[in-house]
């Protein structure tokens, strides 16, 4: 069994490293949230679009067999070779087989959370294939040996100085120059020759259109288009939940996606691939990797509506302060808490407790996924399946009896007052029993309780 992710420890490390990272991270993501609010408010039908998007996704997921079949048939008619993969391993093997058959040594790829999920890059590298991430944020993460910390802005947890040091070490830039435009230019110069020499290109897909067999990729850098327009071989990995019936449905999602993500009208490039270029080869791999299991789950199937915009992460007060790497998983933030345990319940059993349940994620989700409710549902699963430390279950039992009986509650209030007053600080702030006290001063508990005050004033 893999080691359980200690998210509290990881988050504490992110916060404690200095007084820059957490503050910057929080500020940058909250900025995205505010930009989203501004552009959303400029569209009178915004809420209408969210309702439509949610309904289209639910319709498609409840007729998925029909639409998946239709999509695959149409893509094949357009000259695309379609493969099906039950899990990450099968996906990776299909990719490798295509590469070996075509004598591919070097590939360029644009960002794909699905390929990330399948652990594709390390697999290909082990098999002697040189993989270049072309999205700037993903490239930064590749050079750092880290997974993406955010699904839209993968290196958002790094400061400009972090990137300056990383590029200095890897591509020979000046470590003292942390200008984002100079660093971006340096990577452009470094990546360009590799675009030209690549034997194959790989992309993911944001949407797949059933009635035309088209897949759609949204990027701001144009790296997916470079990836698809230079090498003669293009492979796209597509999760089976990405299907939409027609391009009329797509219109709704293009209007929502980038506005929800970064507060921009759309991504700079919305690219539609319906078939290979003349004389070239195009493959699609339709991947399950746990999606059918999720679809069969009566509680958690709505998470398949997700369009990976990252709005829930930008708005989450816990994510903004923890940093995405704290989740130790492909997906972080509220949507990560809901998806990750479906891959490994034990490894990710602490994630559902890393939330204030404030509900901001549910409020902002463009496709109305009930994220906060699902996080709460996962807590129930973890407690039921005994995935949480015994002490927490016992504490909940104690809380249940104390809060459930007015008599015991009143007695407990007095105990808390005298307890805090007479317990030595070394014990009160001992982190083994009081994680809260590590970063917070304990509240002053008054001798007079609300009940005392109420009874006294009621008499007057």
């Amino acid at each position: 069994m893999r080691k359980k992710v200690d998210i509290v420890h990881n988050a504490a490390e992110f916060i404690a490293q200095d007084n820059i990272h957490e503050t910057q991270h929080d500020k940058n993501l909250w900025n995205s949230r505010m930009k989203r609010d501004k552009v959303a408010s400029e569209i009178p039908e915004w809420e209408n679009l969210r309702d439509l998007a949610s309904q289209i996704k639910e319709h498609t997921l409840s007729h998925l067999e029909q639409y998946l079949t239709q999509f695959a048939e149409n893509a094949e008619k357009n000259g695309i070779i379609v493969h099906w993969a039950a899990d990450g391993n099968e996906h990776n093997q299909i990719v490798l087989d295509i590469f070996q058959k075509n004598n591919v040594k070097r590939i360029i790829k644009s960002k794909s959370m699905l390929q990330e999920e399948c652990g594709m890059t390390p697999f290909l590298e082990t098999n002697g294939i040189d993989v270049l991430e072309t999205d700037l944020g993903e490239r930064i993460q590749q050079l750092s040996g880290e997974r993406p910390s955010h699904i839209v802005v993968p290196a958002i947890h790094k400061t400009t100085q972090d990137v300056a040091e990383l590029f200095a070490k890897n591509i020979g830039t000046d470590p003292n120059n942390d200008s984002p435009s100079d660093l971006t230019e340096a990577m452009r110069q470094n990546a360009r020759p590799k675009f030209l020499e690549a034997d194959a290109g790989m992309t993911g897909a944001n949407f797949a259109i059933a009635n035309t067999g088209t897949f759609v990729v949204c990027t701001n850098e144009g790296n997916a288009d470079l990836t698809a327009s230079i090498p003669r071989l293009h492979i796209a990995s597509i999760g089976i939940e990405k299907i939409l019936p027609t391009s009329d449905d797509l219109a709704v999602f293009i209007r929502l996606l980038s506005r929800s993500a970064l507060g921009m009208a759309a991504t700079q490039y919305t690219s539609h691939f319906t078939g290979p270029r003349k004389g070239c080869e195009m493959h699609i791999i339709l991947v399950d990797n746990g999606r059918t299991k999720r679809l069969a789950n009566d509680t958690f199937w709505p998470s398949l509506k997700c369009i990976r915009c990252g709005a829930c992460m930008n708005t989450c007060p816990v994510y903004r302060r923890s940093g995405g790497l704290a989740y130790g998983a492909t997906y972080s933030g509220p949507i990560g808490i809901v998806i990750d345990p479906t891959f490994d319940e034990n490894k990710y059993s602490e994630l559902p407790f890393h939330s204030s349940l404030c509900g901001s994620c549910s409020e902002i989700c463009p496709v109305h996924i009930n994220l906060a409710e699902q996080i709460l549902e996962w807590r129930k699963v973890m407690i039921k399946h005994k995935q949480v430390p015994k002490i927490r279950t016992s504490l909940f039992h104690v809380a249940d009896s104390v809060l459930g009986s007015p008599k015991i509650f009143r007695a407990a209030e007095k105990v808390a007052y005298y307890g805090l007053k007479y317990t030595p600080n070394a014990l009160v702030y001992w982190n083994k029993i009081n994680a809260y006290g590590q970063f917070h001063k304990m509240p002053d508990i008054q001798k007079e309780t609300f009940n005392d005050w109420y009874l006294k004033h009621k008499k007057k």
Partner: protein
């Protein structure tokens, strides 16, 4: 059983458990008296592109020469604007790597977004749109549609293996959340309003 059958069978079983949800009617959300050209120009600027109204190609060329005095290699996918690198002589997409200015005629524009629709037919060689350091795009000011709903009604995706809604220059905010233009694709995009 093949993975295809396993997946489809599992999907079928899940659908059978759910209440089938109807597909909703999608309105086109058009606004009365929307000045499409003005809206388009406004959104184009937000996306980081520049625009000029010109009466002929010569005027557009003069503007570009002033904007990019160092641009030497010009490659055009249009009949009206002759470049100095012949697109018909290109064998491999990578041969467009040295292009300073790529010239394309867009099919139409989308006012809501400030984006233009390009296909493999408008690009001739797809990499022209992404390897060129800068882009000049010609657009008929009469060919502007209101929003994404009306835009997709105009397109038959099956007519073209490749199509792109391009909204402006290549952009990134991956370092320090600061917006930078010219990440991997074109550094600048200039739109010329010129009747077809």
């Amino acid at each position: 059983m093949s993975s295809k059958n396993t997946i489809l069978k599992a999907v079928h079983a899940s659908s059978a458990k759910r209440v089938p949800i109807e597909h909703p009617e999608i309105p086109s959300f058009e606004i009365k008296n929307n000045n499409l050209l003005d809206t388009f120009k406004k959104n184009l600027a937000i996306a980081g592109a520049e625009w000029y109204e010109v009466s002929d190609v010569t005027e557009a060329k003069t503007i570009m020469a002033k904007k990019l005095p160092d641009a030497k290699i010009i490659c055009s996918a249009t009949k009206e604007w002759q470049g100095n690198k012949d697109l018909t002589k290109i064998h491999l997409p990578r041969e467009l790597d040295d292009v300073d200015l790529g010239v394309i005629r867009a099919e139409f524009g989308v006012a809501e977004m400030g984006m233009v629709w390009l296909t493999d037919e408008s690009l001739k060689i797809n990499s022209l749109g992404f390897l060129s350091q800068h882009l000049a795009i010609l657009l008929d000011p009469e060919s502007i549609t209101e929003n994404m709903h009306t835009a997709y009604k105009k397109i038959d995706l099956n007519k073209h293996p490749y199509g792109n809604f391009m909204m402006g220059p290549s952009a990134t905010a991956d370092i320090g959340a600061t917006l930078v233009h010219g990440a991997q694709g074109a550094r600048t995009v200039t739109i010329f309003f010129l009747k077809r």
